[in-house]
Amino acid sequence: MKQTILLGALLVALIGLVALPWFAPYFYIFIVTEILIMGLFAASFNLVFGYTGMLSFGHAAFFGVGCYATAMTLLHLKWPFLYCLVLSVGAGALLALVIGFFSVRLNEVYFAMLTLAFGMMVFSVAHHWRSVTNGSDGIAGFTLGDFGLGLDLTLGNPAVYYHVVLVFVVVAAAVLYLIGRSSFGMILQAIRQNPERVAFCGLNVRSYRLAAFTLGGAFAGLAGGLMAPFLRVASPEMLHWSTSAEPVLMSILGGTGYFLGPFVGSAMFILLETWITSITQAWMLFLGIVLALMVMFFRRGLLGTFLDWWLERK
């Protein structure tokens, strides 16, 4: 029964998202586009954190590299957008494979520090390699051409781009969900709960962690690739550790225990930011208060706390 209600709610939400441009104020197309992309970024982070139990502080590196990959290919090579995205996914995965190779062998705070260090190295390269990345100004001024596959889409139209993002994010989220439900995903969750026991079962924990980390990087790369045409600029800030903190905060706000938690967290984060900054400049202060209250009283996040309560109710 409750399963059906949940599925129904999800379907209604999806229909609402598809129909958004026809009923919401125009500005909210931008807000929801950002929520979707950041939600995917946070969900890719949650594969590493919520499922596998690795707290990475360098996840923005893959997001940012994806964004640069799409921005630079659009600027210099003018590829169709779909191919740019494929490149972004590849770039995110490759970078995650390299960084993960060195990082997943460590645990807890050492893993967090190492990912932070690698993330800041990538940031430094983008910030200083002016001839390639245009330094602190980043890559801007690229134009959107074709989508690819012979589809005739005007990507420059915000409503069209919103639907493109929606399709990509829903498909990517479905894939991420299936990965989490697969036997591979089960092993990742087992690793979070008890890595020794998984190792004693004869499984190579390090390989599984590296695989999860690389997958997370690939999806973060996709989110970054989707972000480039939305922001119209790929800048080093997107690789900075403060950007790495955003999916952490979103996952905690929404709840790491349920698949859709990071998406709900992304919506909370961006809506609160939009509303609060239109009243006061001190948005970070309010975010801090909300976050402190969430961690103290609703440790399972907004979605997690609600679902826990609702599913247990007889």
Partner: protein, 407 residues
């Protein structure tokens, strides 16, 4: 019963004027100006001066009956000096707040990011401060205008003055983004063209924008022993830079020193006597340099209201509001496309003289102001500019072909 007749007449009159007036009421809605400036961080003071300039212009215009009978109103957003933030702010201003026109931008990096988005927003943008040549060059478009001078103009002027000093070996200290790098590039090119025997040193210093410690960069430049240094550090960074350079004896060296935006009154008030005497300072507009009625009225109104002389950022913002007033009145409309067309080639009387947006690239041909820091102006608490030179805007501007702009 007779008494009712005039009452009924009155009622009818009210009803008729009410009905006729209904569409006119919609037009009583204020005309909204969306402004994007840096309002936080080390250059926040620039945003504050710009806001003051806008408010002064709007209050003057509204007291005078507004624009086509409608009041002006401003909504300001913080760019935080980041292109992505500014692009989101512009979308919010246009789609959420229903801004009719946009203005502002302090940073070259922000301008390079936002300008390519303007054709989608379909609203005119007058840049009042950001100086990268690209936005009225290879990135130019039908909606983007600039009322303040750009790096190419100011560096051409700097090269003329640098050539006169006779200094041969030049280096630079500038912020590590578009502005610092392009200042050096355009200065070097113009200087080399006029004086082929000068040496552009490879030892240059580009500290991060917002860096607090400039000591290593200052020491590095002193150790390289140049004859001249071009300094494009600006904002709160420039205040920190000059204080630290004083401590290290930078200004006692035998070097020509040129600050490309050193005569910003925001910086001069913060530094007071700490700004050394006898260095070259430039600004887009010097409040004491223009003997015309518009300037006299602007400067005295500004000082009366805010107690300090207007900076170039205040002047650019003030002038841009009047440019929009003139454009809306000549177009007879607030339609974005019509306004963008009207601005092209339009001229107006600004505090820094009669200026016009060149039709070929939408850049105002305004002359940079250069002078040597002189004795303190005790009343205003800032250095005066001695030997003030206002270079000819036409002469220091690139040709349309050189800009690479295709409209």
């Amino acid at each position: 019963m007779q008494l009712l007749k005039p009452a009924r007449l009155l009622m009818t009159l009210v009803a008729v004027t009410g009905l006729a007036g209904a569409p006119a009421w919609a037009d009583d809605d204020p005309i909204r100006i969306g402004a994007i400036y840096i309002l936080s961080g080390s250059a926040a003071n620039y945003g504050k001066f710009a806001q003051q300039g806008i408010q002064l212009a709007i209050d003057e215009i509204n007291q005078d009956g507004g624009v086509m009978g409608r009041d002006l109103e401003v909504i300001t957003e913080d760019s935080q000096g980041k292109a992505s933030v500014a692009i989101q702010a512009a979308r919010k201003l246009v789609y959420q707040d229903q801004a009719d026109v946009l203005m502002g931008l302090d940073s070259s990096g922000v301008a390079q990011g936002l300008v390519p988005v303007m054709p989608e927003l379909k609203k005119p943008l007058i840049i009042t401060h950001a100086a990268t040549p690209d936005v009225t060059g290879k990135l130019c478009n039908a909606y983007t205008y600039r009322i303040s001078n750009n790096v190419a103009q100011n560096m051409k002027a700097a090269a003329i003055i640098a050539g006169e000093t006779g200094a041969k070996r030049w280096t630079t200290i500038g912020p590590d983004y578009a502005f610092g790098h392009q200042s050096w590039e355009f200065f070097g090119k113009a200087l080399k063209e006029a004086n082929p025997d000068v040496e552009l040193m490879s030892d240059t210093a580009f500290p991060r924008f917002g860096a607090e410690d400039f000591t290593p960069f200052i020491n590095g430049v002193m150790a390289a022993k140049p004859d001249g240094v071009l300094i494009s550090v600006w904002g709160g960074d420039l205040v920190n830079f000059v204080r630290q350079a004083n401590n290290l004896g930078f200004f006692e060296q035998d070097m020509e020193i040129m600050f490309t935006v050193g005569a910003a009154t925001e910086v001069l008030s913060a530094l007071g006597e700490q700004m050394p005497e006898g260095v070259w300072l430039s600004t887009r507009y010097w409040y004491d340099g223009f003997d015309n009625d518009v300037n006299k009225r602007f400067v005295s109104a500004y000082i009366d209201r805010y107690g300090v002389p207007p900076s170039y950022n205040a002047e650019g913002a003030y002038a841009a509001v009047y440019a929009y007033k003139k454009a809306i009145e000549s177009a007879g409309s607030t339609d974005g496309d019509k306004l963008a067309q009207t601005l092209s080639g339009m001229s107006l009387d600004a505090p820094n003289g009669t200026i016009a947006f060149r039709a070929g690239d939408h850049q105002a041909l305004v002359g940079p102001n250069w002078g040597k820091s002189g004795p303190m102006n005790e009343k205003h608490g800032i250095r005066t500019l001695a030997d003030l030179r206002i270079l000819d805007g036409e002469k220091v501007s690139r040709t349309i072909e050189e800009t690479g702009c295709q409209l």
